[in-house]
Structures are given as structure tokens and as C-alpha cells.
Symmetry: C2
Subunit: 366 residues, 2 copies
DNA sequence: TCTTAGCACTCGAAAGTTTTAAGTGCTAAA
DNA sequence: TTTAGCACTTAAAACTTTCGAGTGCTAAGA
């Protein structure tokens, strides 16, 4: 259903007024403050129509209207004009992402932090999913008297490391042997594949050299699976201070979201990559999300998902501002990773998809 | 002021009843449920006395009594009998800490996680303070085509690492040179000392070999200071579900504590080490803490502070249970670190201070 | 035909009132 | 020294009233 211009202007006005006040918006307010050239009565009629079409809702008969999820959806997709970031904002973002640290977890945290600061909502981020990575290199590094650092470089550029201690009977030359052996055996192999069959690949043969290999193999194996992957969040307090969260129920839902994380993880892993994904309220199946909007930007390199950044906020959100922020940070991060990585296929540099201006979504109109 | 036995029993009963219900406790409740052998009227008189002495408080004249901070303090120090952990609980703790991972950050997170699960409060933990550490070893590890991992082993056994990329013009043999040079120059030196004067130690000389050393030196230097040290927390939702947190004000304070973290950091860094520290309500100067109790156990090795674990909960807390839990986990962790570290001074094993049964505190009676 | 002034109506929120019950402190008797 | 008895206090809950924002409908005007 395409709306005529007047309905669009009224929907826009209602959304912007509601965004500012968090109170249901009445016809008189629109008529006096938004200069549309119609009387409250006319606007009243149009608002009744917009409600019938499902774009507005009325909490009760003697209240004003609030935007519905589909109202917001329509607004985002076809009505609003995105603000452009100020030079200063861009500068802040560029500055923070412009350093030599190439540890993806650090980068994603930095990005997340900027997002919550620039938007005043709660930023969310998740690290790489290693399921389908392959091993590019393994390094064993002796540290001090009795510790061994295990480092795995994956084909998506992510580095995993852990430290074990051994009981002092692992001679330097054995480390060398293990190192070579592990690289020889595991290079190019899939993480999952190794994880499920590590013993058949490794243990028997190395056993002969030293039983001290066991904890090493165990820990190496642990590095291959993403147990306890956590969603990184910043600025939770921002949300908690919003009027929406004063409602006991909404607060409970929010706390559930941030503590359980399962649904959030799923959402962060799904969606299109290299583009903005916007999930408004009930567009998410999870009941806890019904009063929130989640915006994500998935990072990909060499066709491997390496993490997602984004934000969670109330449905009443300054989309005009927030979406460009996520876009800019997401693209900057993507550039940074591509430009800085110099990964095995030699595809260095950007591939020019940053002009893409269309929102992705994975739900249908309701 | 020493209390007679009857007052102690009544204070104990009030605290236990209040712990269970979070409601002000009346004289009749105590008389009927706690079998002290006195009528409500007698208990009423004693409660009035206890209030005068500052151990109980009355929200309003027609309500029962609640324990004050000094009431809790007295209870913890001289009245309650600590529960001993069940065999099962001990087993759970031992199991989780019994693995070959020697990365302190991981250990402290595991410990923190157990605490929140066993107590149903919010566990808190902070990693090592590196201020006065010295460098024991530096390793540069080449990864893939263009990345370099910098690893620093400190004299407290803590390992710091980061990854930088370089522009592909750093030949393998130079890495070796840098590695040796850095170890030669910096081994045994104090972190702070290096941080403040890194240029005078390093840059000039290495400059001649390659200007590519610069990002390496910058990042190495970053590793030496604890910027952005974060307090690790687990089970925040546990607290948010308590009736105390239903009060807007208390909720705000809690959110402030977990978001700002500054005060919490200070608290976690202070206190006695190798022993329990209990901070009840106003005993803390920070206003946000006034409705909470914080219990900490500071970890130390070779006279260096290497982190603190603990918990934050409401003043109304099952101290009899919680204190032994923190003690047990704290001691187990301490053992684990000492036993597993095999640090440079050869002081392997435990030094037998785990029988210590006395609570430390750093505030005076009020 | 479209717009709008006018007006009766609805209903939640705020303010005010009454009722209830938990718990106290004091007095006087055991 | 203890306790039964009782008047008193007060927060919380339940109920009632008032207020006002905003609506939808009707009929008149452009």
C-alpha cells in the first residue's frame, strides 16, 4: 500500500514527535507544531486512516497515536532522509580505528564503544565465528620456565591463543618437533573437522615422543571451538535511563536479553553482511525483543563471517542519525580489516561497496 | 559495647528473618518462630535497646526492625557460625579450577563464574595490576605474511600479548635482531620505568635497522600500561531480580556501580590480600555502595598483586554461606596459582596460610 | 468534494479519601 | 523481671472523585 504525500508527512511528523517525547501524539500537536497546513480535524481523519492501515496505534481511545513497527518500517524504508555525519563525528570514528592494532577482538570493541557513545544507545558486538575456518599456521612459543603459548592463525585472519603449563619435562627440541608436526598435519584443515577427530590426527604418533603432549593437544582443541563466545556490550546504562525502561516489563525483557544473550547471538550471526540490518520490535520472533529495535552490520572477509557490530535501542529511535552512524562505522571497520589484513588470496584493499545505500532486512511486511 | 547473650540471639534472629524475607521484622514473628523463650513484649523491649545501640533500624514507627550496617558487622564478626561448604560444592570448585590453563585472566573469570553461580549474587573480579612488574621475557612471533605478535612475560607470571601488522618489509632476520635486542635491553626492567622512557631505551638504536620498528615499539609500550582495565562481572541479573533493586534509587546506584567501575576498581585493589574483606553499606565512602555489601579476596604472588575476586550483593545477604564460598574459591585460586606457577624465585607450593579464619576489614567501628 | 469548527463522549492519570492491618510503646499486674 | 492488654501510629491498599487530553462524528463553509 503506497501512501499519498499527506499521509507520509503526517506519519513522519507523528514519528518525529513521538521520538522526541515518548508520549502518544495528538492531532492538535501536529497541526500547531508541524506546519502541514491542515486543521487538527483533518489530521485527525488521516491519523484514523493511518491506524486502519496499521502504521499507527492508539494506546486507548482518549489518547494520541504512537507509531507501530510497520509504521517505523515504512518510515525507515521510504520516508526518512538520513542525516550525514558531521566532519567531527567522522573524524572521531576514523581516529579510533586508525591504529596498528590488528587484533580483531580489540577493533570490534573499539567500534562498539564508539557506537554507544555516538548514539547514546547500547552497542552490541560479537566476535568471529570460527566454525568453518581452516588452520593457516600454528605456533608454539615457550615462555619462561614451564609455559607454552599455543597460537593458531586462521584463514579469516583471526588469531586464537592460549597458554598452558607443562611439568618441566618438555625439552626445547621437542617443542620444535611438535610445532612442525602440528603444522604439517593440520595446516589447511577445517576447525570443526579437527575438533571432532583430533585424536586420530595427532595423539597416537606424538605419544611416542612424550606424553606431555596431552595437555597441549587438549588445549589446542579447545581453541578450535567457540565455547563461551560472549556478546560484547557497551552503554547498557544508556538504555536503562530511557522512559520505556521504567516499565517493569520492558526492563525485565531488556535484562533478559543482555543476560541470556542467546537470541542476541543468533541475531548478530544472521542478517546480510556488508550492509545494515534493521530489526524492529515484533519483526523479531523473540518475545523479549518486542519493544526494541536492533541494528546490525556484519563483517565479512574472504567470504568468512568474522563478527558483527550493532546496537540495541527502543523502537522509538533517531533512525535518521543512528543508521548512518552504524553504516559509517561498519564500513570503516570493513575497510580497515580488508586494507590491513593482506590475507592469503591477495585481495588487498577495498572493493568499492561502500556506496550502497539500501537497507537490508530479513522479514516480510506484516 | 558487648551484648549479652539474649540480645545477640535476638539480633541474630532479626538478621536471619530479614535475610529471608526482605521485610521489616516484628517482635511477634521472632517470638513465635525463633523459640527464644520470651514473649513479644520482652523482645520488643530488647529490640528497642538494640535500636538505641545502633544495631537495628526502624523504617517508620509502625513497622518492624531491619538490621543496620553495624548490626551486620557485629553479626559477621562475633555472632554467626560459618557454614562449611558441602562436599559437592567443594568438588565443583576444585573441578573447575583443576585444568592446565595457566592464563590468569581465564582463571579469574572461571573463579568469578563459580562464585556467582554458588551464591546467586553478582561476582566481580579484576585482573593483575602491572604497575610494579618487571619484564622477564619478550618474544616476537611472526604470524602469516605480515603480522607480528608481541608477548611479554612479567615477573608475576602474567603474560601480555598483542598483535600488530607491518607493511611487509620486515625480514625474518630483523625480527630475530629486534627480539634479542629488546630482551637484552628490557629484561628485568620495571614496566613503569620502561613506559616513561621507552624512547631513550630503544628507538634511536633500532631506527637504523628499520623504521618499521616504530609501530612495534608503540604497541609494546601500550602493553605495559593498564589502560582500560575492566572489572569482570558475572550474574548481574541475579541482583537485578532482588526486591531491593525494585527501588528506583537502589537500581540507579547499582547501574552506576557496574557502568562506572571506578569505585569498584579502587575497592578491588584495596583491602588485605590472602584474606576475606567485607565492606558493608556505608562502610564504603562511595554513596552508590550504601545499600550493598562487597566481599573481596585479593590474590598475591611473590608480593605482587595479581588480581582480586569477589562479589557484590545486597546488605541483606546470607553471610554464613557466602563468606565461606569466597574464602574457599579465593584460597583454591591462590593455591592453584602458587602451585602451578613455578616462578623465578623457586618458591613453589603453598605456604600454609589457608587455615586463617579471621576476617579482615579496613574500616573502624562506627 | 474537501476541510474544519463545534461538541459530546471516553478513559487514563492524578488527587483525594477511607479502610486495613501490622507493629509499636506504655502501663499495670503477675 | 516478664508479660498481657490496649491505645496509638502509619504505610499501604482499596476505593472514589476530578481533570483534561484527545477522540469521532456532525453539520456548516469553501
Amino acid at each position: 500500500m503506497l501512501l499519498d504525500e499527506r499521509k507520509k508527512r503526517i506519519l513522519e511528523a507523528v514519528i518525529e514527535e513521538y521520538n522526541a517525547t515518548a508520549e502518544p501524539v495528538g492531532s492538535t500537536k501536529i497541526a500547531t507544531d508541524y506546519d502541514l497546513g491542515f486543521s487538527p480535524a483533518t489530521i485527525r481523519n488521516e491519523m484514523a486512516n493511518l491506524e486502519e492501515l496499521g502504521y499507527l496505534e492508539q494506546p486507548h481511545v482518549s489518547a494520541g497515536r504512537i507509531p507501530s513497527s510497520s509504521g517505523y518500517r515504512l518510515y525507515i524504508d521510504t520516508i526518512m532522509k538520513e542525516k550525514t555525519l558531521t566532519a567531527k563525528e567522522k573524524q572521531v570514528i576514523d581516529e579510533i580505528l586508525k591504529n596498528d592494532i590488528i587484533k580483531f577482538e580489540t577493533l570490534i570493541k573499539e567500534a562498539s564503544n564508539i557506537i554507544s557513545r555516538l548514539t547514546n544507545y547500547t552497542s552490541i558486538a560479537i566476535g568471529p565465528q570460527m566454525d568453518n575456518c581452516t588452520v593457516e599456521e600454528i605456533k608454539l612459543v615457550k615462555l619462561g620456565q614451564d609455559r607454552l603459548m599455543i597460537v593458531i592463525l586462521a584463514d579469516n585472519g583471526i588469531i586464537k591463543e592460549s597458554i598452558i603449563k607443562y611439568d618441566g619435562t618438555l625439552p626445547e627440541e621437542n617443542i620444535e618437533i611438535f610445532n612442525n608436526y602440528l603444522n604439517h598435519k593440520l595446516k589447511g584443515m577445517n576447525f570443526n573437522q579437527i575438533y571432532e577427530n583430533i585424536n586420530s590426527y595427532v595423539e597416537d604418533e606424538l605419544y611416542n615422543i612424550s606424553t606431555n603432549i596431552i595437555p597441549l593437544v587438549v588445549e589446542l582443541n579447545n581453541l578450535l571451538i567457540d565455547k563461551n563466545v560472549e556478546v560484547y556490550m557497551d552503554g547498557t546504562k544508556n538504555l536503562l535511563e530511557l522512559p520505556e525502561l521504567k516499565q517493569e516489563n520492558t526492563l525485565k525483557n531488556f535484562l533478559n536479553i543482555i543476560e541470556t544473550q542467546d537470541a542476541l547471538k543468533e541475531l548478530l550471526r544472521s542478517g546480510y553482511d556488508g550492509n545494515i540490518n534493521v530489526y524492529i520490535g515484533q519483526e523479531n520472533v523473540f518475545d523479549d525483543f518486542k519493544d526494541f529495535t536492533i541494528i546490525t552490520y556484519k563483517q565479512k572477509i574472504n567470504d568468512k563471517e568474522i563478527g558483527t557490530i550493532g546496537l540495541i535501542g527502543p523502537k522509538r529511535m533517531d533512525y535518521k542519525k543512528v543508521i548512518p552512524v552504524i553504516k559509517y562505522v561498519g564500513e570503516a571497520l570493513q575497510e580497515k580489516i580488508k586494507g590491513g589484513g593482506n590475507f592469503d588470496d591477495g585481495n588487498k584493499g577495498n572493493n568499492g561497496d561502500s556506496g550502497n545505500n539500501q537497507e537490508a532486512r530479513d522479514t516480510s511486511d506484516e
